[in-house]
């Protein structure tokens, strides 16, 4: 353990001397996220999205939604509203492009909510208007979270314990036809995307510094030292993990403070973040094993990091494209990381994003395992 930490500490010292790590790990991703979110916020202002509303319920909760949630937004000039006779007409309006998105409050909605049963608020998105669909969904999410809040308060007042109240299921769910259930805000999405994209560049030095040491001859000294080879490899991997976790933490906190991002439960986000760093470290280590020099490793790693980033949807929200890309995105840690953050997002979110975290840990285990099997050929003087 001592030797492992010694190697990690030495690698970190070298990284700190070589200031490029700060640039890659913090300055660039945060800067890009900030710029992107500014630009897209500007777009939001110019294009006021139009939403169609089909109220098939005509109940009290539906009226609350249209009157107290959508109404004020329309008066503030954030959105424009149009009334549709029913779900079919609403879908047609979205299809024609008359509306960027539509809300459908199905018949029986109010009864279901008041009765404590699951109910569905439908959002029909338009693939050609991703930002409008996105806003529509965000609004619906906020409402769903509020309604649950009301339920919880009622349950407590009715004599139950707060614990019982917490077990009451969220009575309203959003059914979204265009995309995933939960979503991050634009700023959050870009901050997280850039962070995870650059994470792959940040952690890549860990394992591939074995190749640096080989070039500089110091690997011979490490091999001649009374230290198991596995210790050398794990010491190297740990260096990448430490820098990755620090950089991601700094980026997430900075996005919170400076871009107003809200990430959800710190425990869940922390666990997801570590899982993401482990996955990135494993993938980059595996890629490094195909190279014989540090330069070669760097090039191959860059290509892989960019490809995975694009596929994983850090530049374009891939779920808006759908089809093959949505499926392909599942083979990237990026997608799972973003999915995890989305799952943790909002008031009704769980503490842990279980599936995305496990997916990331799976990536980490498989890639690191194969990298370790292949590491022997790198550990030569």
């Amino acid at each position: 353990m001592g030797a492992l930490l010694l190697i990690t500490a030495k690698d970190l010292r070298l990284r700190v001397r070589d200031r490029s790590v700060f640039l890659l790990a913090i300055v660039v991703p945060f800067g890009l996220a900030a710029i992107f979110s500014l630009v897209f916020n500007g777009v939001d202002d110019q294009a006021r999205p139009t939403f169609a509303v089909a109220d098939e319920d005509r109940g009290q909760i539906a009226a609350t939604f249209t009157g107290q949630v959508l109404g004020p937004l329309e008066r503030q000039g954030v959105i424009a509203l149009r009334t549709a006779g029913g779900e079919r007409e609403a879908a047609a309006m979205v299809g024609r492009g008359d509306a960027d998105a539509a809300y459908v409050v199905p018949a029986g909605f109010t009864r279901a909510v008041l009765g404590g049963h699951a109910a569905e608020l439908r959002v029909i998105g338009n693939v050609d208007a991703p930002i409008g669909s996105f806003v529509a969904r965000s609004v619906a999410e906020a409402f769903v979270a509020d309604v649950r809040y009301v339920r919880v308060a009622l349950a407590t007042k009715g004599g139950g314990t707060p614990e019982e109240a917490l077990r009451v299921p969220a009575p309203v769910g959003i059914e979204d036809f265009a995309a995933e259930r939960r979503q991050l805000s634009l700023a959050e999405g870009f901050a997280a995307g850039m962070a995870v994209f650059f994470l792959f560049f940040t952690v890549q030095f860990g394992f591939s510094s074995i190749l640096d040491e080989r070039r500089d001859g110091t690997l011979a000294r490490l091999l001649a030292a009374p230290v198991p080879r596995a210790t050398i490899v794990f010491g190297k991997l740990l260096g990448g993990v430490v820098v990755g976790v620090v950089s991601m933490t700094v980026l997430m906190v900075a996005a919170d403070l400076l871009l107003g991002a809200e990430w959800g439960n710190p425990l869940g986000v922390g666990v997801l973040l570590v899982a993401g760093v482990l996955a990135a470290t494993g993938v980059m280590a595996l890629v490094a094993t195909v190279a014989t020099t540090a330069e070669q490793a760097g090039n191959v790693q860059a290509v892989v990091a960019v490809l995975l980033g694009v596929l994983g949807g850090v530049f374009i929200p891939i779920q808006q494209i759908g089809g093959v890309f949505a499926v392909l995105s599942l083979v990237t840690p990026h997608r799972w990381f973003m999915q995890g953050l989305a799952d943790l997002h909002g008031d009704a979110a769980p503490v842990l994003a279980v599936v995305p975290t496990l997916a990331l840990l799976g990536f980490a285990a498989v890639t690191t395992g194969v990298a370790l099997l292949r590491a022997g050929r790198m550990l030569r003087p």
């Binding site: 001397r17 000294r221 091999l223 001649a224 030292a225 009374p226 230290v227």
Partner: protein
């Protein structure tokens, strides 16, 4: 072994060494072998080194010196044979054995962005020295290699000679009973080289067993108690300088500078007094019984064969001649 002229030749212990007390055997290599694809880089190499003894591996570029040393240091897997450190089997996974070895690689092996002290601290701690112990020992080593003043500067700002000295210093940190130095004087000015040779001799005087590779005959002659002559992966002969020179018999070497590539002419090779002849870098090297007597006939034969002789040198037997005798080529290429 045993094939005349190929395997290590038997050496008779010289009379002046009979009073020597036998010392602990620190390193024993037996039948070491390493291949890279079709190339046999090290072939059946065996030798031993005792405490306080300096053993030189003398051979030209590509002879297999570094490969041999890498197997001994536990850096490279061997394809055959075994290594014993103080009688214990040693390999790439032996932690105990690695603690006994101080290894100085042929190429500089330092972190250029770290200072000398940081480099030393890292390797000292990696070899298991405690914090305080490491600090004291680093000061000692810095004094030994004359870098105390510059200890805080990053190594990338050092001169070549300073880096070389630090490279050696790292190998001394944990006071190893066996010190392995792979051409430590390559690219070092004569003054620094002298200092390095003196420190190595001093360490041997303190009882350290030293394995020293070089392709400088003078270094091997001056420093090493015993020398193994290695070529094409095999040890061709082994012994003290005196023993090795004895192998050439009383032969002298006549070196004819021809000023151009020149094959050995038949007329010269077939002269009765010529024992062996070779050509190298515009020189004809001719081994004869008695140079003074045979010089006129050698010159005549060369001239008859149309060789233009620019200069003539006569050498007493030394390791260079031994090498030529054993391998038919010169030590330096």
């Amino acid at each position: 072994m045993g094939t005349a002229g190929l395997g290590p030749l038997p050496c008779v212990p010289p009379p002046d060494q009979t009073a020597r007390v036998p010392r602990a055997e620190i390193l024993k290599c037996q039948n070491l072998r390493k291949t890279f694809g079709d190339l046999v880089a090290v072939d059946d190499v065996s030798f031993t080194i005792e405490a306080g003894e300096t053993y030189g591996l003398l051979g030209p570029n590509g002879a297999g010196k570094t490969t041999t040393i890498s197997m001994i240091a536990g850096i490279l897997e061997r394809d055959g044979g075994q290594v014993l450190i103080s009688g214990r089997p040693h390999g790439t996974t032996s932690r105990w054995g690695k603690k006994q070895i101080g290894y100085v690689p042929q190429d500089l092996a330092l972190y250029p962005d770290l200072s000398a002290r940081e480099n030393l601290r890292f390797f000292a701690r990696l070899h298991g020295l405690g914090r305080a112990e490491a600090r004291a020992r680093i000061d000692e080593v810095l004094r030994m290699i004359g870098l105390t003043e510059r200890a805080k500067d990053p190594v990338k700002e050092y001169s070549g000679g300073m880096k070389r000295r630090l490279n050696i210093g790292v190998g001394l940190l944990h006071r190893p009973p066996l010190l392995i130095l792979d051409e430590p004087t390559a690219g070092v000015d004569p003054q620094s080289r002298n200092a390095i040779l003196e420190s190595v001799a001093a360490l041997a005087g303190e009882g350290v067993a030293v394995l020293y590779t070089t392709h400088y005959m003078e270094e091997a002659e001056r420093l090493c108690d015993r020398i193994g002559i290695i070529d094409l992966g095999r040890i061709r002969a082994e012994g003290t300088r005196r023993e090795l020179v004895g192998l050439v018999g009383e032969l002298d070497r006549i070196s004819l500078t021809t000023g151009g590539a020149q094959a050995v002419p038949k007329e010269l090779e077939t002269l009765p007094e010529v024992r062996k002849a070779g050509s190298h870098e515009g020189r004809l090297e001719v081994m004869v019984e008695d140079a003074r007597k045979s010089l006129p006939r050698v010159l005549a034969a060369a001239t008859d064969a149309g060789v233009v002789v620019r200069a003539v040198e006569v050498h007493e037997p030394n390791l260079e001649s031994v090498f030529l005798h054993l391998t038919g080529k010169a030590l330096r290429d």
